[in-house]
Amino acid sequence: MHVNLNELIAALPEDADPETGPGSLAAQEQLRELTADLAQRRVPVNSLHRLWIVGELSAQIALAYFALWVRRGFANAETRERQLMETNLRLALKMFHRLAYMRGAITKVGQALGSFPDIAPDLIAGTLEQLHFDAPPMHFSLIREMFRNELGKNPEDLFQSFDKQAFAAASFGQVHRARLKTGEDVAVKIQYPGVARTIDADFRNLGALLFPLRLGKDWESIQAAFEEIHRMLKQEVDYEREAESLREIGALFQPSDGIVVPNVYPDYSTPRVLTMDFIPGAHLPHFLETHPSQQLRDQFGTKMLLAWTRIYAAHMNYADPSAGNYVFMEDGRLGLLDFGCVQRYSPEECDLVRLSLRLLDSMETFPEFLVRATGASSRDLADPEYIRLMTDATQWVLEPVTWEGPFDFGDDAHLKRGIERFSALLRKRYTRSHPMYVYYHRSVFALRAVLYRLRARVDARAVFQQLTP
């Protein structure tokens, strides 16, 4: 199914404010302007307004595709049933639109990336950087009450010092600097109140709207993906779970790796407050402003890939490797932040990982992999176009690891190729997959986007071979 941008915009959910929302004339004009000749020129990444539009629209485009698919599903139903389905669908879309964190989630899983095959990779990479769940900023009176609720004391009594101003945003909260009475510099992540219950209520409501819709053969896959997103979001708001991930992943690295995972301070941590080492250094944009040498870029890029791969080899997925989660330390070490989004693979999922690794040697087992990973039917396997598109997408994922020598992640063509190939899958609706791939693909794209921004050249094959059996 190929749709043009006009059709997609027409399928967008209605906005409360027709003048300024994504469906407005102004937004449509900006979208046309943005996509015109983008292959020919680079759009400045720091053009925040456009990033907002792209970020918003990329989620909206994903929803528009979803809406079109759903409508096809009940196009032949009786009028009354069609009207009921349409009402449910519109309500569901409005809910998605209203929930800012859901927009982030939809885009985070990479579903919308394929909608802009011609967009400049810089803009895609920049957009991915901007996507995080937005919690309202908390003022100090609110922070104080959260501390009293969680730890029984005011922050100024618990710590030697506590910065009232947050220095960073976090998923569903914010981060403050503090110093323990024992002298350690720490980062204290505090969650916005009531978030976990909000997520549960929102998913319940969305489910009630979506489940009656007839979504055809892909419904089970969509439902599984929906539940996976719900599960991962709940995990992200459980800071005790994150503390456990920090400890588990921290144990994977030695000092000689040059990778720093912060220690957790359990006496100052609860399910909604997480206190850990403060890691000094620059985030990606500031690091790039120092015009680092290619050697330094390559070293950091190698450490990023090493970190991700070692976690993967330990049967976990560091599912949110976005630019904000890396710290470029002055001594050359790489700091890792934010372990809220760590998937732990079940025995079944570990089997799938092992099956996918066999593809590095030969694509002979690819049909078996497709059956297990996507539920491909014998009809699918007999369809040359299906096989071609799935092969193309898989080979793109494996490309750096099958490359001899340093792979240039800064190559525009590589990122664009990935977007085109996954976009082709989206257009053909070949998106059915095991729910573990919802966050796996997001993770792959996010890491590639960061490595692209870094223009790092990494011997990915060597990194991979060190760590995998």
Binding site: P136, F140, L142, M146
Partner: protein, 207 residues
């Protein structure tokens, strides 16, 4: 025999203490003025000399608890307007925690903006007046001149009652969901204050 002022104070205190214990044990609907009179060892008629109704007793308990709330308006005005109002409002709710479930049943009668002619309406009026006076002081400390337009105060009070009712029925751990509602509501209210001159939402220097 003349009853001394001290004796009157003591009797009033006994009634309030007994009422607090009975409300905690039996809830609002499960406690009658007769029960309170018996527990306080006074005649029912005597009880009505001190308090016209069960609502008036609860209103008196609320007033006393609010007076003990740990927020000093003068002391507190060191942050932004939003922070000061938040701290003031939430300190009041915390001081009422032991009466929360009782207030869930009774608040509508005491605070209802509709029941102006109700015999119980006056019980909530003094709480309202005192609360709004504190709010005006906080606003004035942040450069918003007094007296506030009546409609602004009514808007505030309506918002506050909504938060209060939510809090009274909030069964989330330590009424955490009320924190979020209060935060959002204050942003809404303070946004509504922005007029041609804007809101001087500055933080005062600490003493």
């Amino acid at each position: 025999m003349r009853i001394t002022p001290q004796a009157k104070i003591a009797t009033r205190e006994r009634i309030l203490t007994s009422a607090a214990k009975l409300f905690a044990a039996n809830g609002w609907d499960g406690t009658t003025t007769r029960d309170i009179a018996i527990a306080a060892q006074v005649a029912t008629g005597t009880l009505f000399n001190y308090f016209q109704s069960k609502e008036a007793i609860l209103a008196a308990l609320v007033t006393e608890a609010l007076a003990k709330a740990k927020y000093d308006v003068e002391q507190g005005c060191r942050q932004s307007l939003e922070e000061d109002l938040f701290a003031f409002m939430y300190s009041g709710l915390k001081s009422l925690r032991k009466f929360r479930t009782v207030l869930a049943s009774a608040a509508e009668t005491i605070f209802s903006p509709i029941a102006r002619s109700s015999a119980h309406a006056w019980a909530g009026d003094s709480i309202r007046a005192h609360h709004l006076e504190q709010v005006e002081r906080i606003l004035a400390a942040h450069g918003i001149s007094r007296p506030m337009p009546a409609i602004t105060l009514q808007l505030y009070w309506t918002l506050y009652l909504g938060i209060f009712a939510y809090w009274a029925a909030d069964n989330s751990p330590r009424q955490e969901d009320t924190l979020a509602l209060l935060d959002h509501s204050l942003k809404l209210f303070i946004g509504s204050l922005a007029g041609p001159e804007g809101v001087k939402n500055h933080a005062r220097e600490s003493e």
